[in-house]
């Protein structure tokens, strides 16, 4: 089937197939815990795609931060907000059909854009030298040591990423403090838990 049968193509098909299949499974699944599990597998397969494209540092970053951090956080959230036997909250059929139509239209536009540029369909140079994280690390310190891409003008100044790096560091600190404050345990003075359960029960029939 493939003009070039090598492990790169086969592994790409495997990882891409898994990523797409589990992404669709997240949409289709009802049980929130199963959705989280499918999302873990989808993002893990995407990390595999990153490794295949040569972005090893980004792939390891995806596994550590996205899958091993953000999704664990999400699963903790699922467990903490669990309602009695994981009732599945269903949307009405109208909403789902409308969302499906809009999604299909968006997918068609994106795919058409993906196929439109001829130059993107030619593959690259194949296996090159071992990818290294050193240029990325140096760029984050503000110094660009990688070669400019082919076709750029020699007078182009390529900037380092020191400022975004610092901003993101402070941003993460702010998020840490803010999230800890928002989610702190508050002492309840009145037994509001009973009240709101009644409201939810009567309001859920709408």
């Amino acid at each position: 089937m493939l003009a070039v049968i090598n492990w790169h193509s086969i592994l790409f098909l495997v990882f891409a197939g898994l990523a797409c299949a589990f992404a669709v499974a997240v949409v289709v699944a009802d049980n929130i815990v199963r959705m989280a599990f499918y999302l873990v597998l989808a993002l893990g397969s995407t990390a595999g795609l990153f490794f295949l494209a040569g972005a090893e540092f980004i792939g390891a970053m995806q596994l550590m931060i996205y899958v091993g951090g953000t999704l664990v956080l999400l699963v903790f959230g699922v467990m903490l907000t669990a309602q009695a036997p994981f009732i599945s909250i269903k949307t009405s059929t109208n909403d789902r059909v409308l969302a499906g139509v809009v999604g299909a239209a968006l997918l068609a536009v994106l795919l058409q854009a993906a196929f439109s540029v001829e130059a993107w369909r030619r593959p690259g140079v194949g296996q090159v030298a071992n990818p290294s994280a050193t240029p990325l690390g140096m760029a984050l310190l503000g110094v660009r040591v990688d070669d400019p891409p082919a076709g750029t003008s020699p007078s182009l100044v390529r900037s380092g990423y020191l400022l975004p790096f610092e901003i993101v560091s402070v941003h993460l600190l702010v998020v840490l403090v803010g999230a800890a404050y928002l989610a702190r345990a508050k002492r309840r003075r009145t037994p509001r838990g009973i009240e709101t359960a009644d409201v939810a029960a009567s309001g859920g029939s709408r």
Binding site: N31, E56, M64, G69
Partner: protein, 407 residues
């Protein structure tokens, strides 16, 4: 090996790479499974001796050598149960998720200079990242078992593993900083020679960081005294209460695999990896480049060296398990957030300043200029470390002309 298959045997390229990958995977699987067999027997014997009894003495002779095999046969023959309210698919998948995470981390673990599944430039980062994925198997097992003991154990273990990843990451960054690369092969190669080259003895900050790493690693793999997730006296059996037979044995292969992995990582990062306290290969006159057979023999010695160090680490973990009492969950969290993390951060800052002042470490660093050490950080595209004994050019000026240094 793939080159050998392509050139000498004449197989098509895809088949040669496939066979090489298959052989590498089979070898890693043997390390994990064989290691688990040996460690289960060792655990029972060590536990017994510490508790002043004998342990297995009947199966296969006086020392119970075949006890692990008998255990394995028993586990295979057990009935495959699933609780009634359990989520079927997640219940069945959870042990394999845990095992896959433990197995994948071995891909980037080098056993000798060329004995590595895939030499990743971000090897350390990859191993620590994949180790953190083992928690998913535990959470899924706890949830899918539909039993409150399992859920409690799973949530505690997830909180513990995720919290301890922070100081673990900081401890791991110190040897990366000393070596200038995240490549595990490079980090181990820079500690070549006699035992004083080890990063353990590089400066006092790294020495303290090593012990913090040991604490965090033991907490990460949920071994005592941090083993509330499987606390036998409190939670029946924690997250694997409802598992029996082969599924349970997958959890335990994952656990012993992770123990071996963090011990091997400690050996690579701090204790020189396959370069022993005594450079046996150099003393025997077999250095790199004296032919394929000698190369292979040198690497084999290195491989046994590394496995010996990792096994020593695992045995120490078992010794600690049967000696210290278990910590409560609040004590576990206190240890992480109030002790390990600040100490790791302070030692990291100390090691950083030491590296600026005396890059070569206590033993060799006072006479070597800083530039000579840092010159080796930006390596060529091949990524190989400089061979031992190569002279380093002294005319390298760092830090002012970084942009002109070729990556």
């Amino acid at each position: 090996m793939a080159d050998f298959l392509i050139n000498t045997v004449g197989l098509p390229e895809w088949l040669a790479w496939g066979i090489t990958a298959g052989v590498a995977a089979a070898l890693i699987l043997n390390v994990i499974a064989g290691g688990a067999l040996v460690f289960i027997w060792a655990e029972r014997k060590i536990a017994a001796r510490i508790q002043d009894r004998l342990g297995p003495t009947r199966t296969g002779g006086r020392f119970g050598w075949l006890q692990s095999l008998a255990d394995g046969i028993k586990l295979l023959a057990k009935e495959d149960l699933m609780p009634e309210g359990a989520d079927g698919m997640l219940f069945q998948l959870a042990p394999y998720v845990s095992f896959c995470a433990s197995f994948c981390a071995f891909i980037a673990l080098p056993f000798a200079f060329d004995f590595v599944g895939q030499r990743l430039n971000v090897g350390v980062f990859f191993v620590v990242a994949v180790l953190g994925l083992e928690v998913f198997g535990v959470i899924l097992a706890g949830y899918a078992s539909a039993s409150k003991w399992s859920l409690f154990g799973a949530m505690r273990e997830a909180a513990q593993v995720v919290s301890y990843e922070v100081p673990l990451g900081m401890c791991v960054v110190v040897p990366v900083m000393l070596a200038g690369s995240m490549d595990l092969v490079t980090i181990a190669e820079k500690q070549a020679g006699w035992g004083i080259n080890w990063y353990l003895f590089h400066d006092p900050f790294t020495f303290v960081i090593f012990w913090v790493y040991v604490t965090c690693a033991v907490a990460s793999v949920n071994r005592a005294p941090f083993d509330l997730a499987e606390a036998e006296s409190e939670l029946v059996a924690g997250f694997h209460t409802e598992y029996s037979g082969l599924r349970w044995s997958f959890f335990f292969m994952a656990e012993y695999g992770s123990m071996f992995l963090v011990s091997a990582l400690a050996a690579l990062l701090f204790m020189g990896g396959w370069n022993g306290p005594i450079p046996v290969a150099e003393l025997l006159g077999l250095s790199e480049g004296t032919g394929d057979t000698a190369n292979y023999f040198v690497r084999l010695i290195g491989c046994f060296n590394l496995m010996g160090k990792a096994t020593l680490g695992v045995l120490v973990m078992m010794w600690v398990r049967w000696t210290l009492p278990r910590l409560r969950i609040d004590q576990v969290m206190t240890t992480c957030l109030k002790y390990c993390t600040p100490i790791a951060a302070a030692m990291f800052a100390g090691a950083m300043f030491w590296q600026l002042a005396l890059p070569g470490g206590v033993m060799r660093g006072i006479s070597r200029p800083a530039g000579e050490i840092r010159e080796g950080w930006l390596e060529g595209p091949g990524g190989r470390a400089a061979p031992r004994g190569a002279t380093v050019p002294a005319a390298v000026v760092p830090s002012k002309k970084l942009a002109q240094v070729q990556p």
